[in-house]
């Protein structure tokens, strides 16, 4: 009878063992094919030259990093990438927030239509979207023809290969992500709080700034982080729309990684990109947390 108390331990231990077993595949996968490659990437970035069949382990040095940090070219492209990310994030959020708000207010076929439009880029691959914009933005392309017939422009304009086009297409790509996050954020606001505020006589702007905005701040922060990290590290749009004229950091990673075959340098550039993106998003998230927690909106 006394050992009846001892018996429950065994099911617990057996369960822990089973859990460990079930988690084994994913842990093994991530260790071998996520963590290890990244560690090796750091290692690779310290090679002074491309490993080859003759020279499997070139000497270690920080030459690549020194090169990057001192060469104004690399500093410029890094700044470009971060700026592109910044502008894309702003544009995306400014467009997505009202759209997400509108979506939460409607239903039925209208909702489906708008949702299809906003979320479509998630269902078709990026190249399709970029191709579409490429066609639209061509000199004498569709948009220019329309504007021309309205008398707003004359001649042919080179819109591709410009920064606004780059930011524009990147914004297009990322609106879907932001809308998705913001819709769930907005939907999570309990309607009775808004009703209570209305009953107390608060007008729409006041309700927005004191109630809706603070409560959706986590969603905004999450969207901002996601869009920034995706757009700052984008290379496809710069290649296809920017025609590599606008130099951003990911472009160099791409070139050195594929055509130019200088993997150590590409690796070093990647690490720099990674650190910058992670650092910026982390600092941003922390700051926003601290700001919103200062809670004048604690009234709710």
């Amino acid at each position: 009878m006394a050992d009846a108390a001892a018996r429950p331990r065994n099911p617990d231990r057996r369960r822990a063992l089973l859990s460990a077993l079930l988690l084994l595949p994913v842990c093994a996968l991530l260790l071998v094919f996520f963590l290890a490659p990244l560690i090796q990437l750091v290692n690779l970035s310290t090679f002074a030259q491309q490993p080859s069949a003759q020279n499997l382990k070139p000497p270690h040095s920080l030459a690549n990093y020194l090169n990057i940090l001192s060469d104004p070219f690399y500093l410029q492209i890094t700044a470009n990438a971060l700026l592109v990310g910044f502008w894309t994030t702003i544009a995306t959020l400014v467009i997505s927030y009202p759209v997400a708000y509108y979506i939460t207010k409607i239903s039925g076929w209208e909702r489906t239509l708008i949702s299809v439009a906003c979320l479509l880029p998630l269902f078709v691959n990026v190249i399709v979207s970029i191709l579409g914009w490429y066609i639209l933005l061509l000199p004498y392309g569709v948009i220019q023809q329309i504007l021309s017939s309205l008398g707003l422009v004359t001649g042919s304009l080179q819109w591709l290969r410009t920064v606004p086009a780059l930011v524009g297409v990147l914004t297009y790509e990322h609106i879907s992500f932001a809308v998705l996050i913001l819709v769930s954020s907005l939907q999570a606001i309990p309607q009775d709080k808004i009703n209570a505020a209305r009953l107390l006589g608060a007008g729409i702007p006041r309700i927005f700034f004191t109630l809706i905005l603070p409560l959706t701040m986590p969603g905004l922060v999450a969207s901002a982080i996601l869009v920034f990290s995706l757009s700052a590290s984008s290379y496809l749009v710069p290649i296809l729309i920017g025609a590599q004229r606008i130099k951003v950091l990911p472009l160099s990673i791409f070139s050195y990684g594929t055509e130019l075959q200088n993997w150590p340098l590409a690796a070093a550039l990647s690490i720099v990109l990674l650190i910058l993106v992670v650092a910026i998003t982390y600092v941003f998230a922390r700051t926003m947390n601290r700001i919103t927690r200062r809670g004048e909106w604690e009234m709710v």
Binding site: V26, I95, N125, V277
Partner: protein, 261 residues
């Protein structure tokens, strides 16, 4: 409200424009991209089927996505169970660990894998590609399945227990049916992610082994662009729309994509 409405519909038009434009452009009768199209012809839609390289890439993408989706679900489902039933501290840790790959810019990961595969001999192989897709899709499959697992009613399992079923029988007869919608959603989700993936495929697939997005990219970037590409784009977009509507009508699109944070 009216101002908002107008704004939203302008956005809707701009969102649909790049997809809609591919249709008239694809209907052209000549071999270059132009708008308005020169003459009207469906030849470029037909040309998709005679372009063997293109078809190859479509089939390859299809099998890649199917393999990735099946394996991703098989790996992610047990994780969802374990995490659902563990304490909150262990949960946070495990969740962060499993969804970690989402935090890394894909180009960085692609480069890392490129060099890594070279050293372990998986460079330019189908398996290597599948594995790379697994790493980035498992977080999404996991999230979707976690939602499904969380809504399972434990009493159904208990009833099955008391009625005499072994754990394996309970899993097969009671739990899997409850997870059916979650499993389908996770499968579709992972399939789409894998099928549309560009970066990993670009870095890791061999020259003759391109996936569809890579093939389209190379045509745009390097050469060989014909109106067949816009034609294909339009078809893909149509498929996407149909898929979207089906998912929205059955599961609800925002719930389905809820795994995306």
């Amino acid at each position: 409200m009216l101002g908002l409405r107008i704004f939203v519909y302008i956005v809707v038009v701009l969102m649909l424009l790049p997809v809609l434009i591919t249709f008239p452009v694809a209907l052209t009768s000549v071999a270059r991209i132009s708008f308005p199209p020169v003459g009207l012809s469906g030849r470029w839609f037909m040309a998709i089927f005679s372009d063997t390289v293109l078809l190859d890439s479509i089939i390859r993408s299809f099998w890649l996505a199917t393999a990735a989706a099946i394996v991703a679900i098989t790996i992610a489902l047990p994780c969802a169970f374990v995490i659902h039933r563990s304490t909150s501290r262990a949960r946070e840790l495990l969740e962060t660990w499993i969804t970690g790959p989402r935090m890394i810019p894909q180009i960085v990961f692609a480069l890392a894998l490129l060099a890594y595969f070279e050293t372990i001999g998986l460079a330019e192989t189908f398996i290597g590609l599948v594995i790379s897709h697994l790493v980035i899709t498992i977080p999404f499959a996991f999230r979707t399945l976690l939602v499904s697992v969380s809504t399972m009613d434990k009493r159904l399992e208990w009833s099955s227990d008391v009625l005499g079923a072994t754990p394996a029988q309970t899993f097969r007869r009671v739990m899997v049916p409850q997870l059916k919608t979650g499993l389908i959603a996770a499968f579709i989700f992972t399939f789409i992610l894998s099928f549309n993936n560009v970066t990993l495929a670009l870095f890791l697939s061999g020259f003759g082994q391109r996936t569809l997005p890579v093939e389209m990219f190379q045509r745009m970037n390097v050469g060989g662009m014909t109106p067949a590409i816009p034609a294909l784009s339009f078809v893909l977009a149509l498929v996407g729309v149909v898929l979207f509507i089906v998912l929205d009508r059955t599961v609800g699109i925002y719930r389905f994509l809820a795994g995306r944070d």
